[in-house]
């Protein structure tokens, strides 16, 4: 066979394909960076207006404190996390077949995409933490408002808060990525089966805890490990989603 001895002509070793995939995701920054922050800015401005109205009409300090306490249940920045899941689904659906056409292996594609999500998570978590810090330092932008210190992202220190943001973002990215790769590999029936299995698993776990009357212990456990512990625990499903996603993508084929 002549082919075995054949080396491709004048091969310039391509720079890392993993980094190329990373750059590909950032080639147009609108969906990944521009749009989420634009929406965030609009929500923020609307919230500011609402806070200003409340601030103007509520004058006693005790009432104001009450309002501030209520605002910690604001869901204003929650959309960002759901958005990230959708971004992950969308970007994989299109960029996977596209990258394969450019001669990228599934492995390099997945590593590059994962690296993209990790970088995005770190970036977003950093900015969100900074905003939370400013919010705290300025007493809620001078109006007692709360958007980035919502109760879901509780944490005593900014560092803790950073890790809460980071873990949540990673979780949403990789669960979105898992959904997309399952679809690419097994199409719609596979995705439906996966959701059904997940539903059964969650209901089953709830039933188990309920029947064994251990909700009390679950709450105690949650309290005892604290925010840091729960965040660390969230990394487990995230890691499972990331690995399963890779498993699904390894034999996925682009649609004709």
């Amino acid at each position: 066979m002549t082919t075995t001895a054949l080396t491709p002509p004048s091969i310039a070793q391509a720079p890392s394909r993993v980094l190329a995939v990373l750059r590909l995701h950032f080639a147009s920054r609108y969906i990944l960076i521009g749009a989420p922050w634009a929406i965030m800015a609009i929500i923020f401005v609307v919230n500011l207006a609402v806070w200003a109205i409340i601030f103007a009409s509520v004058s006693s300090p005790t009432d104001r404190a009450e309002v501030t306490a209520g605002l910690q249940w604001s869901g204003a920045s929650l959309y960002l996390f759901v958005w990230m899941s959708i971004v992950a689904v969308q970007s994989i659906m299109v960029s996977f077949p596209f990258a394969l056409g450019y001669g990228v292996t599934r492995r390099d594609y997945y590593l590059g995409t994962s690296l993209t999500y990790v970088l995005l998570s770190v970036g977003y978590a950093t900015v969100l933490t900074l905003l939370a810090g400013i919010e705290q330092a300025t007493d809620g932008w001078g109006l007692g408002g709360q958007m980035f210190n919502a109760v879901y992202f509780a944490g005593d220190t900014l560092v803790e808060r950073f890790f809460v943001f980071l873990a949540l973002l990673l979780f949403f990215y990789f669960s979105g990525a898992l959904g997309a790769t399952v679809y690419l590999r097994w199409k719609q029936p596979g995705l439906l089966a996966a959701f059904a299995a997940l539903g059964v698993l969650i209901v089953g776990l709830c039933a188990l805890v309920t029947i064994s009357q251990s909700w009390q212990r679950v709450f105690e456990f949650a309290t005892s490990v604290g925010t840091g512990g729960l965040v660390a625990l969230l990394l487990i499903p995230t890691a499972i989603a990331a690995l399963t996603g890779y498993g699904a993508l390894r034999r996925a084929t682009p649609k004709n």
């Binding site: 082919t3 075995t4 002509p9 391509a14 590909l24 960029s95 450019y102 001669g103 292996t105």
Partner: protein, 300 residues
């Protein structure tokens, strides 16, 4: 000559359907090979198998001497431009041309720029807003400017007008002459590309039915035309690929004729004409032997 692609007993099944059915062939280095066949014949599936996008059911594929599946060493020398290529939603052509060099070490930015001008691609308009032909042009430009040692064009010119197609053929041939590489081109427009092709692979119903040098193929059949009686007399005992009769005249397409055959035919008052690649392929892929005979009876 060395072969860049070697395929042996390759089969790809989707459920019961054998999209590729026990196929074996080679593709020579630094040649333009046409992968021709009807819709659904298996051209795209074959190209996806060769680029590691699909997984073979059985058989072996060697590209640059190794299995292409998940093989970065092989795949970084491969560019696959497919029909109606989808691009990330918010992409503009400039994003495509900016990102391509990260993947193709031989990318020629100057050449790409020239092509953008030739094809009149609006580099700064969202791809979603481009016409079909313009989107196809983007793919064609990537395929040409990437200069990948092995380039696949799968029906690359959906919606391209005749002028743009001619530009594609011209640039392809010109650039290929300066930077020889292996090109596999699948297309319906056989006669348009006939002069580009050095080798022809015709696939029908998942099988390779023709695997031949284009020149050999062109000389492999001749059409003779003349009076019914003269044509019938001459074609008797020869393999007839196609026959048609109008009034007292008939013409038949025959397998290759030897020089003495041609002299005989001329002496019998018959006109000899070459058969176009497209006609030849149509005849070889649509006619089975019994059909040929019945058609002969019908026209004789």
């Amino acid at each position: 000559m060395t072969s860049v692609i070697e395929v042996a007993h390759l089969t790809k099944r989707f459920g019961d359907l054998a999209a590729i059915d026990d196929v074996s062939f080679r593709v020579e280095e630094n040649a333009i090979t046409g992968l021709l066949g009807r819709n659904g014949a298996g051209k795209t599936t074959l190209m996806q198998l060769l680029t590691g996008q699909q997984f073979a059911t059985s058989g072996t594929i060697d590209v640059f001497g190794a299995n292409p599946v998940e093989n970065a060493d092989v795949l970084q020398n491969v560019c696959f431009i497919k029909e109606s290529q989808k691009y990330p939603d918010e992409f503009r052509p400039k994003h495509v041309f900016r990102s391509a060099p990260w993947f193709f070490p031989h990318w020629d930015a100057e050449f790409a720029e020239q092509l953008v001008e030739d094809f009149r691609v609006p580099a700064n308009r969202p791809i979603k807003k481009l016409s079909r032909g313009q989107v196809s042009s983007v793919g064609v430009i990537v395929g040409l400017a990437s200069r990948a040692p092995l380039t696949f064009f799968d029906e690359p010119y959906l919606g391209l007008d005749a002028v743009a197609r001619q530009i594609f053929y011209d640039r392809l041939l010109q650039d290929y002459a300066e930077h020889p590489r292996t090109i596999l081109l699948s297309t319906h427009l056989i006669d348009e590309v006939a002069n580009l092709l050095e080798h022809v692979l015709v696939i029908d119903d998942g099988r390779v039915v023709i695997d031949e040098e284009a020149d050999v193929l062109r000389g492999s059949a001749t059409t003779i035309a003349g009076t019914r009686a003269a044509v019938a007399a001459f074609s008797e005992g020869r393999e007839v690929l196609h026959a048609e009769t109008i009034g007292g005249l008939s013409s038949v397409t025959l397998e290759a004729l030897s020089p003495s055959d041609r002299a005989d035919a001329a002496a019998a008052g018959l006109e000899l004409a070459p058969v176009s690649l497209q006609q030849l392929i149509i005849r070889k892929t649509t006619l089975t032997a019994p059909a040929t005979e019945s058609e002969m009876e019908h026209s004789a």
